[in-house]
């Protein structure tokens, strides 16, 4: 009893100092005036030297957004957002297209260093040489703007395009026009539409036919400015038979006010292509009283457009005051596969409403959902998911497992699955459980010499193991640590 109680108490006293990414970088920035209007949309487009078609696309989205209402169906509660009280564009001043890293503001480089994200290729190489030959190319997005992308040249040799979205709009307009908004339509939902109007940057990846991307690609998002909405847009296209593994990480400073993050991610996998998309989301979650923190309202969707294509989402969600995201797969191609592996940890006053949609359209399409929710403190943690088979999805298969673990009696864990089958030969299986860490389990570990915190961490790591295994190795260890820190609260 007391061991659990101790953990619960510690969780209750959650100490914000635990959030080690909570520093602010003092850097000059270039901001659009507050508020949202057609002029602001034009301003953003002009700042990015965008072609006319891109501006029109944005304006169309903006006009549609004006007619839409915020969604209310998720199990999250927050005061009404004043969309006119936000800055929609902020960019570090010195990043007007740095030719090389030497032109990047040293403050920025220091920031990423502090976050453990090396941006100097030579250093990266030096750092891992001997240990392993795996390298990671990084696109660093600071506030709304991509500041640097590493390993670009080497990737180019393999034919892989990895650059900021702004650059893609200018350099590869035919690809962007063909695919942008083709998975998440402009009017998909309130936040996606808003993003379509004002998105400032993000990453663009194109892997040509038959190419296996020679290294992991990664984008590291950092919110720095105050009162600034973050609207990145990511587009990844894997041509026939291509393969790419992509990881995104996110952090933000500690701020008293809430900050809005409304990103859109679109994935397109053509015949026999495979995209693996991993997220370690650690936005600032707010303080012990629930003050501040990021509103993470994100639309992520992958389209398995070609036969035998595969899209796999893995997410470790530990941050944000509110998380509202449902990375989904449209299984259009026959024999295509979708996967969703998720760990969502909530503590303090965090609210998580997350899950996935697996839309089976093609024949013999397969999907697998493994979701592990851990609720502590006074948080609410909801899994919301849809699995559907349409008329033509003969032989579709889904397996879903969602487990919730509660730590303490002031939190809530909820499971809201929607299962819709319009095809007799589609076989869906869903299972869900809710449990807590048993006192006996804790005592057993402590009798063998583990402290109560170590025991909780050990048991939780066992609980999330199936998902951790899906992460690229470099990030699995980091994710495990992150989960322990998020749950420890003041333990340290």
């Amino acid at each position: 009893m007391a061991a659990v109680q101790e953990t619960v108490d510690q969780v209750r006293r959650i100490d914000v100092d635990q959030y080690k990414y909570g520093f602010v970088t003092d850097i000059e920035s270039d901001r659009a005036p507050k508020g949202l209007s057609e002029d602001i949309v034009r301003y953003i487009s002009a700042r990015k030297n965008e072609p006319e078609w891109m501006l029109e696309w944005r304006l169309d989205a903006y006009r549609r957004w004006l007619t839409m209402n915020e969604p209310t169906w998720a199990r999250v509660h927050y005061p009404k957002i004043d969309f006119d009280d936000l800055y929609y564009y902020s960019a570090p001043k010195s990043t007007k297209g740095p030719k090389s890293l030497d032109e990047v503001d040293p403050e920025l480089l220091a920031t990423y260093e502090k976050l453990g994200i090396p941006l100097r290729e030579r250093e990266i190489l030096a750092g891992v040489e001997g240990a392993s030959d795996r390298r990671v190319a990084v696109d660093a997005v600071f506030d709304s703007v991509s500041v640097v992308t590493t390993f670009k040249e080497e990737l180019k040799k393999a034919g892989v395009i990895f650059c900021s979205m702004s650059e893609a709009v200018r350099e590869y307009p035919e690809l962007v026009r063909k695919y942008l908004g083709s998975v998440v339509p402009v009017t998909d939902n309130f936040y996606a539409t808003l993003n379509s109007a004002v998105f400032s940057d993000g990453s663009f990846v194109y892997v040509p036919e038959g190419v296996r991307c020679p290294m992991e690609l990664s984008t590291y998002f950092r919110i720095n400015e105050k009162n600034t909405g973050q609207f990145e847009r990511t587009l990844i296209i894997a041509e026939k038979g291509a393969y790419v593994s992509y990881l995104e990480g996110c952090t933000a400073p500690m701020r008293d006010e809430n900050q809005l993050h409304a990103a859109v991610v679109e994935l397109v996998a053509l015949e026999d292509a495979e995209i693996k998309y991993s997220t370690v989301q650690n936005w600032y979650p707010g303080d012990k009283d629930g003050k501040g923190g990021i509103y993470n309202f994100v639309t992520k969707r992958g389209d398995c457009r070609g036969a035998r294509s595969k899209i796999s989402w893995t997410q470790v969600e530990t941050g944000s005051a509110i998380t509202w995201k449902y990375p989904s797969c449209i299984l259009r191609g026959d024999d295509s596969q979708g996967e969703f592996y998720s760990i969502a940890v909530s503590n303090g006053y965090q609210q998580v409403d997350s899950g996935t949609k697996m839309i089976h359209l093609g024949k013999r399409t397969k999907s697998r959902i493994i979701s592990k929710g851990i609720a502590a403190g006074r948080s609410d943690n909801t899994y919301r998911g849809l699995v559907s088979a349409h008329r033509k999805a003969s032989g579709a298969r889904n397996f879903t497992n969602c487990d919730s673990l509660l730590i303490g009696d002031k939190c809530g864990a909820h499971t809201v699955p929607y299962i819709e089958s319009k095809n007799a030969s589609a076989v869906f299986e869903h299972e869900a459980t809710t449990s807590k860490i048993a006192d006996d389990q804790l005592f057993y570990c402590m009798q063998r010499g583990l402290s109560s915190e170590e025991a909780v961490a050990l048991i939780v790591n066992g609980f999330v193991k199936d998902v951790i295994q899906q992460l690229p190795m470099e990030f699995a260890v980091e994710a495990q640590k992150l989960i322990s820190i998020s749950l420890e609260g003041s333990v340290g």
Binding site: A3, A438, Q441, Y444, M446, L450, I459, N461, G462, V464
Partner: protein, 249 residues
């Protein structure tokens, strides 16, 4: 090594231990026998420091040091090991991972260096072979899907690795067939040493055929009511606990 004086413990309103006095000198093996509900398992939990028991009176000295105010993990680091009657399952945590975490936590608490992985593996392998614990079992999640015999062997394996000063075996024979009993007993006997004490808690005499104790205590209604040599166990086997149940009431 272990000195228990006038120990009283209760759960809620229920008094379970009513003045236990017991001394286990270094290197000796003592058995505690007694009818169901006499407080044997409670004694083992109180020694190991499980929460939920109110200690209303008495003291427990381990190597001359009072341990009642120490949490379970500190007692473990001091060298108290409890082999559970019902070992717990921890899904997703490989047995090997658990063993390493426990061993290193104790070493750290004692100010010793953590073991390197090859060193650790060597130790596990040696101990596991003696107990018929396969590599495959070590990779499986702790106790999940283990048979009764496998769970008990796993407990003894942990004991062998952690090298406690005092091992408390709580009904280690329960749920074991005769072959499994022999493997487990052999494992325990191999760990007998002049530096290590053991407290064997059992309802039946049969375990004591394999692990022969120096002293046998009879517990009834929360007290040690009689002590004697190994022959006492045989007497109990023949006559049952009826005398003691009556006497205590």
């Amino acid at each position: 090594m272990l000195k228990i004086k006038n120990l009283h413990a209760s759960v809620g309103d229920r008094q379970i231990l009513r003045g236990v006095d017991l001394e286990v000198p270094t290197g000796e093996v003592h058995a505690i026998m007694g009818p169901n509900g006499s407080g044997k398992s409670t004694l083992s939990y109180v020694l190991a420091g499980r929460d939920g028991y109110d200690i209303t009176e008495g003291e427990i000295l381990f190597d001359g040091e009072e341990i009642l105010d120490k949490p379970a993990e500190e007692r473990a680091a001091l060298g108290i090991f409890l082999a559970f009657q019902y070992p717990l399952e921890i899904p997703g945590v490989a047995t090997m991972t658990f063993l390493k975490a426990a061993l290193n936590a104790q070493r750290k608490a004692r100010g010793e260096a953590e073991l390197t992985t090859p060193d650790f593996m060597r130790r596990v392998k040696g101990a596991a072979e003696k107990l018929n614990v396969t590599q495959e079992m070590l990779r499986r999640p702790l106790n999940v899907g283990f048979s009764g015999g496998e769970k008990k062997r796993n407990e003894i394996l942990q004991m062998a690795l952690l090298e406690p000063k005092l091992a408390i075996l709580d009904e280690t024979d329960s749920g074991l067939d005769i072959d499994a009993l022999r493997v487990v007993s052999d494992g325990v006997n191999a760990l007998r040493s002049p530096k290590r004490s053991m407290l064997v808690i059992t309802h039946y005499q049969r375990l004591l055929d394999h692990i022969v104790p120096d002293v046998v205590h009879v517990m009834s209604a929360g007290r040690i009511v009689r002590s004697g040599g190994p022959e006492l166990a045989l007497e109990l086997e023949a006559k049952g606990y009826a005398d003691y149940v009556g006497a205590a009431a």
